[in-house]
């Protein structure tokens, strides 16, 4: 029997791994059901085109084809996809049908579906569907689209979807930004920059897949999704299927990163066709389909104006964003920039802030959450600006940060964006990071290389980031017009054998919930780690939940678990007293055992569970069950932070960037499993670094995604990356029992500006002050070699 609190903080090897390392996994695409039919999608090759005719006869006559359907034919039967976050009451949004009816609005949109007895037959027949298009002018460039030069949806009359504003003076959380900028223009420093957040593709490794079984009373949907619960609700709401008749299962899911936080056309069509044909159906996308039709991320223009006094104290920030929604306003796509709105002020305490965002429809793949969702964009902007301010002042970029950040003794601190940061210690994280990094030595080396005119220059990049995790207090979401709450649900079932079954409404896809949640419950109940089983990702087992995204599973779901476990203990207490023939007041619970104070008498919670199962000898009026539920609504976000330092070498002759070292010290609050936390940080770092250096979803002038396969969309490989040095400082969150803050997105949020700051730092003395992402050798080379004629280099 374990004693108190031995599990939390322990490097437990993961329970999930046995099946994953032996290939005994349950991916959705592994499913085969009797009589199962397969879908293949016919997709528009054009970004914007009127569909003049679709001839399905040849495909329908092909061997093993069961049915070929078009949008016009399915009509209302196919339902619509929902937008759960209309950010303004007057948001303009086209109706989002799962399949085009008479107009295709991005290259990759589904225009017909073939159903056949095998996947190969379906794919072959899809080639035979003859679609005639009338190509229409496409809205592709974000800035041009924002000016309504070409309309993505002519019937809407505009591409402008929603305009969302936060102003600290209006909100009463700070002063007037125009005033701050005016003062700085007269007697201070104003930094004006425009940054591009390029379009990225989440590129989870498991392609999306859906299997639907319509036999029996219930419709069962297996999907490679992050959000089985939200999916069930959305399908029930739009497809006329009672929620109770829908069971959604997310079996093993191979990564998501926000990319599987979506309700997809393919899922809708699979359900509709399974229902129509009365047979199980499966659809698994190819990688190319995944890249063109799974939602993309980022894609913003950021116009920034930072005001500061002459000594470098920031006095205000004005942010004007254009955000590319793509062809439709997807599940939470419109809200992504709004999540960033609260993070541009980051760890700094300037007094005036204005944020305005215009979301824009284009004829590209729709965008939505990608790891960090809004917060990486915000963090990039402010961390780049702090470097620019330091350069303007001629001081070390860490100095200007320290001058402006919230001091550890100032917590809790209400920011200019209106959030209350509960805890943090930026000084401690930065001091530790500097030490691990060898900051002063590297600065000295940088100087030597500059003095020697070394063709290979050293750059040092800094990012002192924070983020908001634990999405989210339901009341706040309501104020932001989000369509749901932010609570999470958990159940703890005490089995007759004394073992424990834990059910969480969070839905893991690589995060290790089975392990970390076992640790939490094992500690709380004082049972063995091995005796706890965590179940999730099936709406019939985990009946309530809001799934996994926004680094919420531990902070919100973990707290729900703690509360459910505590209820188990409270239910067991009177029963223990009865069985031990003692009074409740004389009992104490520790290390999994109720004992009578001052005696040897005691009973383990597992033994009580067995006694409750038999129910032969319970106190009068006590129900024979210890099982408990808790639904927890967070009272605040959590605010992990950290200091990331990156050293790069830039070859000024070739423009090549080589990562040399990367140190990060993150404060994620208390840590349940250090091994899992480290893994989250490493993976996050590489995704953020990839935005800085390699990845970009590129469209050609006709609106075709050029980077539509893994040949062209450059995911980093092991050979591109380096080993990282990571460490932690800890200021526990004060708003949840475990003191945790969340770690799923930290690495991604912090690393992009750290790397770009490093690249710019390496060549700043050559007159460069910006390089657009990704910082390819060509862009770096151009920036260096054109800096004398133009200022910086934007593209």
């Amino acid at each position: 029997m374990t004693t108190t609190a031995t599990e939390i903080g322990r490097d437990r090897r993961r329970k999930e791994d046995q099946r994953l390392i032996t290939g005994r996994t349950r991916w959705t695409d592994n499913m085969t059901l009797p009589g199962m039919l397969h879908l293949a999608m016919v997709r528009s090759p054009f970004a914007h085109a009127r569909i003049t005719s679709i001839d399905t006869s040849a495909a329908a006559a092909a061997p093993n084809v069961v049915s070929v359907v078009t949008g016009a034919e399915l009509g209302e039967e196919m339902g619509v996809l929902i937008n759960a976050w209309p950010i303004t009451p007057d948001q303009v949004a086209p109706v989002h049908t799962p399949m085009a009816v008479d107009r295709a609005t991005f290259a990759g949109e589904i225009v017909a579906v073939v159903v056949a007895r095998s996947a190969a037959a379906a794919r072959d027949a899809a080639e035979l569907v003859d679609v005639e298009y009338d190509e229409l002018p496409a809205a592709l460039d974000l800035k041009e689209a924002a000016a309504d030069t070409v309309l993505a949806h002519p019937d809407l009359g505009t591409n402008k979807s929603a305009y969302w504003v936060f102003d600290s003076a209006a909100a009463g959380t700070g002063g007037d930004v125009e005033e701050a900028i005016g003062t700085a223009r007269a007697d201070g420093i104003v930094i004006e920059r425009e940054y591009r957040q390029q379009r990225l593709i989440p590129a989870f490794m498991e392609p999306r897949s859906v299997v639907v079984d319509p036999t029996g009373e219930q419709l069962t949907v297996w999907s490679a999704t992050q959000i089985p619960h939200i999916l069930r609700f959305a399908m029930a709401a739009t497809l006329g299927i009672p929620e109770s008749k829908l069971r959604v299962i997310a079996p093993d899911v191979g990564g998501g990163f926000g990319g599987k936080l979506q309700t997809t056309p393919e899922e809708w069509l699979a359900v509709v066709l399974a229902r129509r044909l009365g047979k199980p159906v499966k659809f698994t996308e190819t990688r190319s389909e995944s890249l063109i039709s799974g939602h993309h991320g980022r894609d913003q223009w950021q116009k920034l104006t930072l005001a500061a006094t002459k000594d470098g104290t920031v006095t205000g920030l004005k942010v004007e964003l254009l955000a590319d929604l793509g062809s439709h306003v997807s599940l939470v796509g419109g809200g992504v920039p709004v999540l960033g709105a609260f993070m541009f002020n980051a760890i700094y305490k300037f007094p005036a802030y204005h944020f305005a965002c215009q979301t824009v429809l284009t004829n590209k793949t729709w965008t939505d959450a990608y790891r960090g969702a809004g917060r990486p964009e915000a963090t990039f902007a402010i961390e780049r600006l702090m470097d620019e301010l330091a350069a303007e002042l001629g001081v070390d970029p860490l100095v200007v940060r320290e001058q402006n950040w919230i001091k550890h003794e100032e917590f809790p601190f209400t920011t200019v964006a209106g959030l209350e940061y509960d805890s943090g210690n930026y000084e401690a994280a930065t001091a530790r990071a500097k030490e691990l990094f060898g900051y002063d030595e590297l600065r000295a080396e940088q100087q030597r290389r500059r003095d020697a005119d070394d063709p290979v220059q050293l750059g040092i990049g800094i990012s002192t980031f924070t983020e908001m995790c634990g999405l989210a207090p339901s009341r706040v979401l309501g104020q932001l017009d989000y369509g749901a709450g932010g609570w999470e649900h958990a159940s703890v079932r005490m089995l007759a054998t004394g073992k424990v079954e834990v059910i969480t409404g969070a839905s893991a896809h690589g995060q290790g919930h089975e392990t970390a949640f076992s640790q939490i419950v094992a500690d709380r109940l004082g049972v063995a780690f091995e005796d706890v089983e965590v179940l999730h990702g099936d709406t019939q087992i985990a009946a309530k939940g809001l799934d996994t995204y926004g680094s919420r599973s531990l902070v919100v779901g973990g707290e729900a678990l703690v509360r459910a476990a505590d209820k188990v203990i409270e239910k067991a207490r009177p029963i223990a007293a009865h069985l031990l023939e003692a009074s409740v007041e004389d009992l104490e619970f520790s290390g999994g055992t109720f004992s009578v104070r001052g005696t040897d008498a005691g009973m383990a919670i597992g033994e009580i569970a067995t006694a409750v199962f038999a129910a032969h000898n319970l106190p009068d009026g006590v129900e024979p069950s210890l099982d408990s539920d808790a639904t927890y609504d967070p009272v605040n976000f959590s605010f992990p932070h950290g200091t990331h330092l990156c050293a790069v070498e830039v070859d000024t002759e070739t423009g090549r960037v080589r990562m040399r070292s990367y140190v990060c010290v993150d404060d994620v609050g208390n840590i349940i499993n250090p091994l899992i936390v480290a893994g989250q940080v490493h993976g996050g770092l590489v995704q953020g670094i990839a935005q800085a250096l390699w990845e970009e979803a590129v469209y050609d002038d006709s609106g075709t995604l050029v980077s539509g396969s893994f040949v062209d969309y450059l995911l980093p490989t092991a050979a591109d990356t380096i080993s990282f040095e990571i460490d932690h400082t800890t200021t526990p969150s004060t708003t949840n029992t475990l003191g945790t803050k969340g770690v799923g997105e930290a690495g991604t949020i912090a690393s992009t500006p750290a790397v770009v700051n490093a690249v710019v730092d390496a060549v700043r003395h050559l007159g460069v002050h910006d390089i657009a992402m990704p910082c390819t050798p060509e862009r770096v080379w151009r920036a260096i070699h054109m800096s004398s004629s133009a200022e910086g280099a934007d593209q």
Binding site: I21, T22, T25, T717, A719, S723
Partner: protein
Amino acid sequence: MTRISLTVDGQQVVDDVEPRMLLVQYLRERLGKTGTVIGCDTSNCGACTVHLDGRSVKSCNVLAVQADGSEVTTIEGLASNGQLHPVQEAFRECHGLQCGFCTPGMIMQSVDLLEENPDPTEQEIRLGLEGNLCRCTGYHNIVRSVQAAAKGATS
């Protein structure tokens, strides 16, 4: 249809397959060896990596008919007598996986890498795994896993 005969994870199989059927499809769809997975359609991701006559191959890049007369080992045949292969063990020990989708391919590639070079440097490991993509781990702990397996084998 073409008749093929091969050994998969120690078991002899004889089958008629369409000439265009890929080895990965054959493994997954005919033999139910769903431990081997498909991550791309351009032979870039390595998720489908298996051993063909003792060397790693991307099974999406090999036709089933080409495996005729060969010995194929998948992730499901790597452990022997219920004993995990040291590389499997190392991936668990070093947290070399998160979602686990790349893992079968990563492990099969790592086994091959270590057979070729039992004591690789970090850079040799990184280059040896260049054909296998992972979106979760940032490769850091995958490299550690291979180092740990090498160390276990050489010490």
